[in-house]
């Protein structure tokens, strides 16, 4: 995986405490698989993994993040003209869906990688979008989906935007309405576990996971999540290298949502 020093060409604050940096990176924009991420240099011992939030035809890629600690705060202070040192594109993204309806389920800062999926497959697949978060202030990229002609179903824990409740309600409705199809999801682990449980084994279900990372490239074995080995026994999967996108069949928590 190459290392880039990418110029910040645009900076947005789509929501309070959320920043999106657009980077000039034609080769990345062309090569990106939805769900892949960048390992971004920030001061300190470790880089920070951030999923790509968009890839534009004019050769830009986006990183959209919520400010939660020292690294994202430093990133939020970057300005147009600054350069970011990134390792990218990292990991395995969502596989190209088979023909048929595709549902994208995004929670909070899990939404951005699904927008890349929407950009990639809006023209070729019938896409539905469910977005959720704790509160309206954390539901990002709604207008972006709309610009693609998609109308996301939104739910928030506090009802401040869309439906009151979790993404599971609109998901249940979608599953009832669609016989086949497939589900692509990204968000907090409990959400992913709930999605996997509802979707069940009948349809392909792809989940993009998060885990604290060291190297970001598969070398240090820091970023493991429990998977289900071929023998049914638990085995570690590296989010950075084997993921971040996994089939729900391979993930321990997706099989045992009560443990998530």
């Amino acid at each position: 995986m190459p290392r880039y020093e990418l110029e910040v060409v645009e900076r947005q604050e789509p929501k309070p405490d959320h920043v999106e940096l657009l980077l000039d990176a034609p080769s990345l924009a062309a090569a990106l698989t939805p769900g892949q991420f960048a390992h971004v240099w920030t001061p300190g011992r470790l880089r920070r993994p951030i999923s790509f939030s968009r890839a534009t035809p004019d050769g830009r890629v986006g990183l959209l993040f919520r400010v939660v600690g020292s690294g994202t705060r430093w990133l939020a202070d970057r300005r147009v003209g600054d350069r970011l040192d990134v390792l990218a594109p990292l990991g395995h993204g969502f596989p190209t869906p088979e023909t048929g309806p595709v549902l994208l389920v995004g929670g909070g800062v899990g939404i951005p990688p699904l927008f890349v999926a929407a950009q990639r497959w809006a023209a070729t697949h019938p896409l539905s979008v469910i977005l959720g978060a704790r509160t309206a202030d954390a539901v990002v990229m709604v207008a972006d989906f709309q610009a693609l002609g998609l109308e996301p179903s939104i739910s928030t824990d506090d009802g401040s935007l869309g439906e009151l409740g979790r993404v599971t309600s609109p998901l249940t409705r979608w599953l009832a309405r669609n016989d086949g199809g497939q589900v692509l999801a990204c968000g907090p682990t409990p959400m992913l576990a709930a999605v996997a449980e509802l979707v069940g084994d009948g349809r392909p279900c792809w989940l993009a996971y998060e885990q604290r990372m060291g190297c970001g490239v598969g070398a240090c074995l820091a970023c493991v999540v429990p998977g289900v080995g071929t023998d049914g026994q638990p085995e570690w999967l590296r989010v950075c290298h084997d993921g971040p996108v996994f089939s729900s069949r391979r993930l321990w928590w997706a099989r045992r949502p009560e443990e998530a």
Binding site: W41, G214, W236
Partner: protein
């Protein structure tokens, strides 16, 4: 500028090796680091059979440091030989295999299996990993046990054996002397220190394994002291490590008595750190009046103050 150095019988083109556990087996950094340009690569600790390691989270940042509790997850020696070693061997890397075990016999078993394998240049006994509760750790601060495992491994292989010391003891010189007397060909110093952080928000230990190993520049003073002490306590060469990020840091370890160094944590933030350090070594050596790496080794020791 002559960057060549030796660790006993092992000749190195330059003094900068990748530290065990931080560089995988090489291919992970393909395109970013040409393993043939490194002094060498110490691979992740290898046991006779695969180990699962600890539950995540496995890393946590601290001031100038990094805590990890990987817990020695590894593919076992057979898969290592079949799947991992070829990449390094094919590229001509100098390979140091870090070995681990729960018992003396397990250490010896890995050593025996690696003996004579093409592409393996030395063994590094990790008797000091703080993340394993059974076995490994007690070797790290009991000189008699450390000597016994060293002897067991020496008896099982013709490869040079480097013993990697734990700083979690008050008597490093004693440990060093014990393993040297048991036949160690070199010492590696240091492994991580046992540390811990609390995730204040969640009111629980930040690492799944509760405690973890502290690495990075935070521990450099401990590492330099360890190299200083053990290089005076024994006659075998010392490979120094702990928080190295720049060519000047490398020089600090050389002056303290190291014959070569390893770079670990720095690679996470800057995958190209080792290559950059190697490129900067000539300038830095020259700036401080040295015409070779060898001239700098131990040059801060009392007897050499006038150098």
């Amino acid at each position: 500028m002559d960057l060549a150095t030796r660790v006993g019988a092992v000749r190195l083109a330059n003094p900068v090796l990748a530290a065990s556990g931080t560089f995988g087996f090489g291919p992970e950094y393909d395109g970013l680091v040409d393993v043939a340009q490194l002094g060498g690569v110490a691979v992740k600790g290898i046991a006779p059979v695969p180990w699962r390691g600890n539950v995540p989270p496995r890393v946590w940042e601290t001031p100038s440091g990094l805590l990890n509790s990987i817990g020695l997850q590894n593919p076992g020696v057979e898969r290592f030989l079949a799947e991992d070693l070829p990449y390094l061997r094919d590229r001509g890397a100098t390979v140091v295999v870090n070995i681990i075990g729960r018992t003396r016999a397990e250490y010896a078993a890995v050593a025996r299996r690696l003996d004579g394998e093409l592409g393996v240049h030395a063994l590094e006994l990790n008797i000091s990993c703080p993340n394993v509760k059974e076995g490994g750790i007690q070797f790290g601060h009991d000189p008699a046990e450390a000597a016994a495992v060293t002897r067991a491994v020496k008896g099982a292989t013709t490869l040079p054996v480097w013993v990697k010391l734990s700083p979690n003891t008050h008597d490093l010189p004693g440990m060093a002397q014990a393993v040297a007397a048991a036949g160690a060909d070199a010492l590696s110093a240091i492994n991580t220190l046992v540390g811990m952080a609390i995730d204040v928000e969640h009111r629980r230990p930040a690492l799944g394994g509760v405690t973890g190993g502290l690495s990075g520049p935070a521990i450099r003073p401990i590492a330099v002291r360890a190299v200083w002490e053990v290089s005076q306590a024994v006659d075998i060469p010392v490979v120094g490590m702990g928080g190295i990020e720049t060519a000047t840091d490398v020089l600090e370890f050389l002056l303290a008595g190291a014959s070569a160094v390893m770079v670990g944590t720095a690679t996470f933030s800057q995958p190209g750190a080792m290559i950059r350090i190697i490129q900067e070594m000539p300038t830095v050596l020259a700036r401080y009046g040295f015409d070779s790496v060898r001239a700098a080794i131990g040059a801060a020791h009392p007897g050499r103050l006038t150098t």
